[in-house]
Amino acid sequence: MEEQQQFEPKIIGFTCNWCSYRAADLAGISRTKYPPNVRLIRLMCSGRLDPTFVFKAFSSGADGVLISGCHPGDCHYVDQNYKTMRRFALMEKMLVQMGFEQGRIKLVWASAGEGLQFAEAVTGMVETVRKLGPLDWHIRGQSNGHLTKELLLKEDVV
């Protein structure tokens, strides 16, 4: 009996050194289990997140991008995460216009003590992206209008 292999999404996560990376560490120290689909990149601050990183991640084969930083008001560098918020809002709009489903990019705040919440956010995102299916940007990115339209008509799961 041939078993259809479950789609394992690849998600790139950007964390800030002070809060969310430590939250991921705390999840590790607490041995909280979450799916292995997320690969984290450490930045000093979520404000460092250049939108091109996100596009690079998608065009390199990621199916989803998770961005995480300190809670608004708690940024180690005072208020840089507000800039992240603004950039994210614009980025999400652009991606949707380009044909991405909304669930593929997510912004989550996690303080250094929120290991459990971080793990839950990752688990939730993995399931969301799994339902959305592979991004296959190298196929979508082609200027084949017919194929893009077909993909756009797929039901959106947020």
Binding site: D25, A27, G28, I29, S60, Y77, D79
Partner: protein
């Protein structure tokens, strides 16, 4: 780019990593598949952080002429410094090392061994790609200003000040109240020795007041902090006392003659009175009084001025204005203490409804010989001595409805109260406890002593403190309703007086103060320390240290120890004269900068200057903290960041998604 020669080291961490991730396979995979990307040698070892593990790296660097190192092990927050040091001792720039966390982010959080191993491979691949773009960096050296600011004049702050001042360094002490001393000045006796609190505190206070190296700002608050470790510029807002400090002799005639009496709800915990012009207590340092504008008849109605008329040296000055003073310091120690839990939040305990229910601080003032009753333990009518007293532990502590944590000092404090009540009044004392927490030196012996003195201990969380009498013998008394869990029965104990051992809480404005200094508070409100076990007096912000109850509830010896520890850390810094800052910085490439100035307003440290003449922006490397927001914001990509450059992150993304395996060999 020079030809990369990368060494990959995969740590077993005992079975922490090796139990889930097949480390040998990962190491082999790296040497085979990443060979084309510059990996020259790949090893796995049981404990990379051990001296043998580090030596492995050092040997390989020399033998294989490595110019880059990737260590796949625990979190960089733990051992990045360790491996950087190992690299450095082999003669390679420490910033050419990259750590990949396959423990906290892989083996500890995943159960699927195959998936975890594959993830480890991907992460190492990402690390390898990234490290190819690492550059040798030199830490920035900045001088440390030798002066220190201590905020908070309680026992922790006082200890820190004395350590620094006695070591010959200049210290500024800022205190919000008119006098230093903090909560310790309010207590009567201290446990377990039953030393008189004021007697042991005032000599220290006097030393602070007289010390030539100490500049004392009381009735003042810090309103602005700028700069970075070694170079802080702080603004102190000194409120007007309306008393000329240089000619006031501290004779107290003004206080005696002032006609306006006010309830003192700070020092006397609402149990006593002070005048509108007052010093909080007799041994106040400094001994100059302060005029409380809101209650002074002159400020409110324009009449009286008795103090001005009667002052023998004409030191009263109603025209005095608030001042703003700017100081330069190299390090800051915060020791702002705690606030007491508001017992009105538990209405079933009767505080503020039933006259003879007192909080712990109120009782301290009651039993203090310099307090409103001269040290007589009496009921609220000021005359009657209680015949039975109930002391309730854990009010507002260890309670999911209020504060979940234990306030550390209340058990000892309740035992102290039990002893004092018995000694002063001979009353029958009941202590209602959940557990008896007496962890430190001589504490349990004190508990045993109180037991022998005849105090009755009832194990149970008090359900209700009420005056609703139910049967004969309860009329006119306060009844404590509690389940005696050791007996398994409900009990109603009629007492004359109830003392609530209220818990310790962070200061009401702790969050605002933390924000001012750029540090953070936990969800409970206590300030977050750098490491709860190994570094309780430092914070995530370099140059800002904490001591005392600000970091969490603790007793006096622990506060003193922390104050001294913070001072020692600062002295070490001052002694080194300069500090090396992490070279994670942003730089603007002038040729690419178009002068749009979008970056200027992004910087929270005002580190970006704009040169009008050349119409380009420039980052001041000393002020820049390396957050990178300007780098992401620059539309021309003219700003680059060391340590987290665009090339490094892009390469890491490709590595994580294993695109590098499809690339041409480097």
């Amino acid at each position: 780019m020079i030809e990369p020669r990368i060494g990959v080291y995969v740590c077993h961490c005992g079975t922490n990593i090796a139990g889930v991730v097949d480390v040998a396979e990962v190491s082999k995979w790296a040497s085979e598949h990443l060979k084309g990307r510059g990996v020259v040698i790949s090893r796995d070892y049981k404990f990379m952080c051990s001296s043998l593990g580090q030596e492995l790296i050092e040997k390989d660097i020399k033998e294989y002429r490595l110019n880059r190192v990737v260590v796949a092990a625990c979190s960089p927050h733990l051992h990045e410094a360790t491996f950087r040091t190992a690299t450095k001792s082999a003669g390679l720039n420490p910033y050419l090392t990259e750590m990949v966390s396959i423990r906290e982010q892989d083996s500890w959080v995943h159960t699927d061994k195959i998936a975890a191993t594959n993830k480890a491979k991907a992460m190492i691949s990402g690390g390898v790609e990234r490290v190819r773009y690492h550059e040798p960096l030199e830490p920035l050296h900045v001088p440390i200003h030798p002066a220190t600011l201590v905020v908070g004049g309680g026992i922790a702050g006082i200890q820190a000040v004395l350590e620094l001042a006695d070591a010959g360094q200049k210290v500024y002490l800022v205190e919000r109240e008119p006098s230093i001393g903090g909560h310790m000045a309010q207590f009567d006796k201290t446990f377990p020795t039953l030393d008189c609190s004021a007697c042991i505190l005032t000599p220290k206070m006097v030393s602070v007041g007289k010390h030539p190296n100490v500049e004392l700002f009381t009735w003042s608050e810090v309103t602005n902090v700028e700069g970075y470790v070694g170079n802080f510029t702080v603004n102190i807002h000194k409120k007007a006392r309306f008393v000329k400090e240089d000619i006031c002799t501290g004779c107290s005639i003004c206080q005696e003659k002032c006609p306006k009496k006010v309830i003192d709800d700070v020092f006397e915990a609402g149990l006593g009175y002070r005048k509108a012009v007052y010093t909080p207590f007799a041994q106040a340092i400094p001994n100059y009084p302060v005029i409380d504008k809101e209650n002074c008849t002159y400020f409110q109605k324009g009449t009286c001025r008795a103090c001005e008329k009667l002052c023998p040296t004409k030191a009263i000055d109603f025209t005095q204005e608030d001042q703003d003073i700017s100081i330069q310091v190299g390090n800051i120690i915060l020791a702002t203490g705690y606030d007491l839990f508001d017992s009105r939040r538990i209405p079933q305990y009767g505080y503020a409804r039933l006259a003879n229910v007192f909080t712990s601080l109120e009782f301290e003032r009651l039993s203090n010989s310099a307090g409103p009753t001269g040290g007589k333990v009496v009921l609220r009518d000021g005359v009657t001595e209680p015949k039975t007293v109930g002391i309730v532990h854990c009010v507002g502590s260890r309670d999911k409805n209020y504060n979940n944590y234990c306030s550390a000092i209340c058990c000892m404090q309740s035992l102290k109260f039990a002893h004092l009540v018995e000694e002063r009044t001979g009353a029958e004392v009941y202590n209602f406890y959940i557990d008896i927490r007496t962890p430190a030196k001589d504490y349990d012996e004190f508990y045993q002593r109180v037991l022998e003195e005849g105090t009755i201990f009832i194990r149970g969380k008090v359900a209700e403190v009420t005056d609703a009498a139910r049967m004969a013998g309860e009329e006119g008394k306060i009844i404590i309703q509690v389940e005696d869990t050791l007996m398994g029965k409900q009990r109603r104990i009629p007492v004359d007086m109830v003392i609530l051992s209220a818990g310790l809480e962070p200061r009401r404005d702790a969050k605002a103060v933390a924000k001012l200094f750029g540090i953070s508070c936990s969800s409970a409100g206590w300030v977050i320390e750098k490491h709860p076990k190994l570094d309780p007096i430092a914070t995530m912000t370099d140059g800002i240290f904490i001591a005392g109850c600000m970091q969490g509830p603790k007793d006096i010896p622990a506060s003193v120890a922390q104050g001294a520890a913070a001072a020692a850390r600062v002295l070490g810094r001052i002694q080194q004269k300069e500090i090396a800052l992490e070279p994670i910085r942003a730089t603007v490439n002038e040729t690419q900068c178009s002068g749009c100035r979008i970056c200027n307003n992004m910087c929270p440290y005002n580190a970006i200057l704009f040169h009008e003449d050349r119409a380009v922006s420039e980052v001041n490397p000393a002020l820049c903290q390396g957050c990178g927001t300007c780098i992401a914001a620059c539309p021309a990509g003219a700003i680059s960041g060391t340590g987290f450059s665009n090339e490094q992150v892009m390469a890491q993304i490709e590595g994580l998604l294993l695109l590098n395996l499809e690339a041409e060999p480097a």
